[in-house]
């Protein structure tokens, strides 16, 4: 090996390089067959058309279900595996920040106690004499606990999550999902072990809402934004009554409790706009639920549902 050894090797490497990535191969590699690209684009467009016009009966729904059966358990497993790690930042919180939290929570607690948010709503219901029947209805429901295992990315512009309970836990489409704070959304579709939930902040979500203080009804539309700025728009049917700030909005409920059961707190009024042109009023609602950090949720099922896990009955007992 003299001074030429290196040169030779380099020349050899260059030759090999040329042979491997010659012009013929480049042509083949960098120009895909046009028919393939056209075929794939057409396939995508066909899929879009099928799903867009097919609605709930489209063949895409069964494909969705099949893919869900495969990916659902994997998502559940992944979420369970990383759960210990997502809790790690909690350990490193300083004493100061915990103190702040306690002060903030105490203030909030006393404020809430003084407001007794749902008191107006309950009193009105009693006055309207449907309290008893409604309460009896309410007693007929039970909760299946579930955890959120996957969140749809904001790039997809739809606010949906996957929870780790499916048909085996007794879930069906169009069931109400809630958590400690209030209404979360409704079940869109289920697989054996998971379910997809449409959050109330999604732009496709419409919930019948009722202002607790005045019993006025309206429709809650999502704005498609999760996180701190997530808001709902309440369109009131009657434009003569103006809801106050901090009024509580609860669900109005539908027949047989599908998709929403009655009386679940949704959020509080933060501002009211009236539009003269449309002769309606629009109130902005701040949801009680923090959608950015959803974890444990409950799905409302009929009492006595067969489930693969403990069901929380209306009286608080576990079945």
């Amino acid at each position: 090996m003299g001074p030429f050894g290196k040169l030779d090797r380099r020349r050899f490497r260059a030759a090999r390089e040329r042979r491997w990535r010659g012009p013929g191969q480049l042509d083949e590699g960098s120009r895909p067959s046009r028919s393939l690209v056209v075929a794939l684009v057409l396939a995508s467009l066909t899929l879009i058309t099928l799903d867009y016009h097919g609605g709930d009966d489209s063949p895409v729904e069964s494909a969705r279900r099949a893919v869900g059966e495969v990916f659902g358990p994997v998502e559940t497993g992944t979420a369970t595996a990383i759960r210990p790690f997502t809790a790690v930042p909690e350990w490193f919180r300083s004493r100061g920040s915990l103190h702040d939290d306690v002060a903030r929570l105490e203030a909030e607690n006393s404020r809430l106690r003084s407001q007794a948010v749902t008191e107006d709503y309950d009193r009105n219901r009693l006055r309207e004499y449907d309290g008893l029947t409604a309460a009896a209805d309410d007693l007929g429901y039970a909760l299946v606990p579930a955890r959120v295992v996957a969140l749809g990315p904001a790039q997809s512009f739809s606010d949906t999550v996957t929870i780790d309970a499916g048909t085996r836990a007794g879930l069906r489409p169009d069931m109400t999902v809630l958590n400690n704070d209030g209404l979360v959304g409704r079940v869109l579709r289920v697989t054996a072990t998971t379910a997809t939930v449409l959050l109330v902040v999604d732009t496709d979500s419409v919930v019948g809402g009722r202002v607790g203080e005045s019993m006025e009804v309206g429709f809650l539309h999502g704005r498609g934004v999760v996180g701190d700025t997530g808001r709902l728009d309440l369109e009131l049917v009657d434009d003569s009554e103006v809801p106050d700030r901090n009024d509580t909005v609860v669900t109005w409920g539908s027949r047989d409790g599908a998709p929403y059961v009655a009386g679940v707190p949704v959020g509080r009024v933060t501002s009211v706009y009236s539009s003269v042109r449309e002769s309606t009023q629009r109130a902005v609602i701040e949801p009680y639920v923090d959608f950015a950090s959803l974890d444990l949720v409950g799905v409302v099922v009929p009492s006595g549902t067969d489930s693969d896990r403990a069901v929380i009955e209306a009286d608080g007992s576990l079945q």
Partner: protein
Amino acid sequence: MSLFRGVVAALAVSLALVLQVSVFPHLAWQGVVPNLCLLVVVGAALTRGPQFAVVLGFLAGVALDLAPPADHVAGRWALALVIVGYLAGRVRQDVRPTATAVVATVAASSFVGTSVFAISGLLLHDPALGVPDLLRVILVAVAWDVLLTPFVLPLVMKMFQLLEPARTA
């Protein structure tokens, strides 16, 4: 070899998808997460050319459209990622792309991919969101994807390079 390559590519896409919906939401900024499936498609395009990347893009897109939390009209991500695979594949030269070229390709692909998805939504009225909201999400998505590029792309490109069959024989 071809079958093996296909299986490995499908596994890579599935892994990217699961990480994207189950792990990254914990780190999400305003709900936007890095689009790992798109990064895998770009990595495939840069190492193996557009022919392979458009097919992988279609598969990754269909998976994104159908796997559980998704509720948008199916086929929209498939269309977006086919276009991404085609464009990113055309960038490829007969030399190894430099780091700058990779980052630029990812940024452009992410912008085009997310935009195609958003525009298809505007046409179908699938999300009733305004253009400013869409733009904000698109820009955050591009930033996320570029941020993840140094961690994901070298791995993905290395993997596809190892899978590349010898063409000399």
